[in-house]
């Protein structure tokens, strides 16, 4: 029982990451009709926004500490962050400690900007091109972005911990009447889940209740007609791209304390998020979210020892297996529309 509850929690947690990435991916596809292979790279850049901010916050000048020596036996150079100078050590530490949450504020404008520049500078010219061309150009872009990050930050994972206050875990079990310490869940993962829910809800509300969202949804359904109505749909689509980039970026920022970011983390997620989008149904926002959570949960359950004993290796293939079954029984994914991306 405890095991099952925990795996559901794991699934929801994993699912929220899948859902956030898939949401942006399907948003871009639904509005712009573009298959964006660089979407994983946007997630990765989001994560590196957090790394960058924490680097900025820890920008330091060096002080020589004569009492200690470095590995060569010279007097040790100690880095003193400028924030210490500005705010004193205690406040300075607190600010550095909160680098990841602060990065949200930092990442939103940066990611919006990257998204808009990407759309205006590159993607815009590919709306009418075949999907194959879109794949090639966005894949090329993904490689370039990845290599640029690798050039500046190296290939090693970079630890970006959550604020001290969130490092513990929450004891669900005690709350539900199980033995203590049996069902515990890290605070940050709970925060990630709530954060994902808020973002997803926000995007839905935005599309549902604002005029902007209505126009965009109309544009998703029938671009030409909306254009005929004299509405500048292009500018709105550009903003949608920025929004999708920001969603992916925020997913990345918040993910950094869960796993240390590295330059190829986007590629690791790319294939899975495509599977999620397609299982959900191309162009369907609720489908992407549903499929994200579904596949996340299934993956978690497949990793249980009891399951693996019966079906060794199932944890490695379960997502693909389920994707195949769903695509064969529900041709357009869980919630896809007919005729979308079938040619």
């Amino acid at each position: 029982m405890e095991a099952i509850i925990l795996q559901i929690l794991n699934g929801l947690d994993k699912g929220s990451a899948y859902a956030l990435i898939a949401l942006g991916l399907t948003l871009i596809f639904g509005t712009l009709g573009v298959v964006n292979f660089a979407h994983g790279a946007l997630f990765m850049i989001g994560a590196f926004c957090a790394v960058t901010l924490s680097r900025i916050l820890t920008l330091s000048h060096t002080v020589i500490d004569e009492s200690k020596t470095d590995f060569l036996g010279n007097p040790l150079k100690v880095d003193v962050p400028y924030v210490y100078d500005f705010f004193g050590q205690a406040t300075g530490d607190a600010i550095i400690d909160w680098a990841v949450p602060l990065s949200i504020l930092f990442a939103i404008p940066v990611m919006m900007l990257i998204g808009v520049v990407m759309e205006r500078g590159l993607i815009k010219h590919f709306y009418k091109r075949p999907h194959a061309d879109q794949i090639l150009v966005t894949f090329g872009l993904a490689i370039v972005l990845q290599e640029v990050i690798k050039y500046f930050y190296g290939a090693n994972p970079i630890p970006t911990p959550a604020p001290e206050a969130f490092t513990g875990s929450f004891d669900f079990g005690a709350m539900l009447g199980f033995d203590p310490n049996m069902i515990i869940y890290p605070y940050w993962r709970i925060i990630y889940f709530i954060f994902a829910a808020i973002i997803i809800g926000g995007v839905f509300a935005f599309l549902q209740f604002t005029t902007f969202g209505m126009v965009v949804r109309a544009g998703m359904a029938d671009r030409e007609t909306v254009k005929l109505l004299g509405i500048n749909i292009d500018r709105r689509f550009t903003l949608m791209f920025g929004l999708a980039a920001a969603v992916a970026g925020l997913a990345g920022v918040m993910y950094t304390p869960i796993n240390s970011p590295n330059y190829h983390m986007g590629m690791d997620f790319l294939v899975l998020s495509f599977v999620v989008v397609v299982v959900g149904g191309m162009g369907s926002l609720p489908g992407a979210v549903l499929a994200g959570f579904l596949l996340g949960t299934l993956e978690s359950f497949a990793s249980m020892g009891a399951v693996l004993e019966v079906l060794p290796g199932i944890n490695q293939i379960v997502i693909y297996l389920v994707a195949i079954i769903i695509l064969l029984t529900r041709p357009r994914g869980l919630m896809g529309r007919k005729g979308v991306m079938e040619d």
Binding site: H131, A132, I135, L136, E147, Q316, I317, L327, D343
Partner: protein, 400 residues
Amino acid sequence: MLGLDSKDFKLLLIVAALTMLAPFILNPFPEGSGMAQFNAGYPDLMQRFVIFGIFAIGFNILFGLTGYLSFGHAAFLGVGSYGAMWMMKLFSLNVLPAIAVGIIVSGIFALAVGYVSLRRSGIYFSILTLAFAQMSYALAYSVLTPLTGGETGLQIKSTDNPLLSTIPEGEIGRASLFGLDMRASYEMNAGDWLFTFNAGYYIAALIMLLAFYLSIRIFRSPFGTMLRAVKSNQTRMYYTGLNARPYTLAAFVISGMYAGLAGGLLVAMDTQVGPERMFWTASGEVVLMTILGGAGTLIGPVLGSGVIKYMENILSKINKDILHEWFAFLPDGLEDFIVAIVYPFVGKGWHLTLGLIFMAVVIFLPGGLVQGGQKIARLFRGKKASEDSDEKSTQSTPAE
């Protein structure tokens, strides 16, 4: 000639000449010179050029003609390799039966995967093929270790004793063609130049020519026309009394067999196979090769695979020392500056250059490298010729 019209025959002759003379063409720079770094005329890379050429030619039969974008083609390459490897380990070190088994095994696997995947089209088809390939990869890496050797993969070991081959005690079996070692080379010196003629390369090249010839025949056949009809308009196809499914399945299996052939050849040239040959990035690579060269064109995929393999093997080996050597003629400060500018794009940064090339090609040459070649050819031929080709483009000469 050979059932080809004169234009196609000319193309085949050109490709034949290029592959046969590759040891010269790919080694344009004298040994020991600074530019020798760019020489690609050594057996391993030449073999890879033609083998991945075969892989891409096969992929193009599916993608270029029918428009079905398989994102799991590397699985067939891998399965072909494993099949060929076991054949060599157990039966005979002769490469021919090994390659044959590679083709057959891949063909059967492609039939199964294609039968299921082709129930869907568009990106749904792509994801289905991707899912099958990723499953193959994951299983080969882990659960199927007894069969695949896991991460380490399979090699011929001194303990392997193929049924039909006798190996001297303590020696490791080597792939051969009726006794001709795949690695046997004949070297020719000409001044400062050195040219290597490798048995394995020529065998692979001949097979590639055969594969290329068959692909021309398929492109020009009624079957090929039907495949293009599938890409163009499936509705009309069905209402013309044609069943698109067996056509796409046949194309899928044929291209799977090409991949198996490439996989078998890889093992024949270098007796080793590992599961990462089936990873999705490997499938993505053949997609990129084909689009980069020009999907649906005859020669495009071969060009595309050449460019990518060249990058991977030549560009990645350029290190800082070599750069300094090249730019040594410059004043010190300038030399360092230029090296600093160039360095991020070569050596460990070769992926960056590759990504930039992908983008540049697709932005400026929507038809791939072949289109670039046509543009250049048009420049040279001048105005009159350009009118000709304009007319041609409205007349849609199918694929070249």
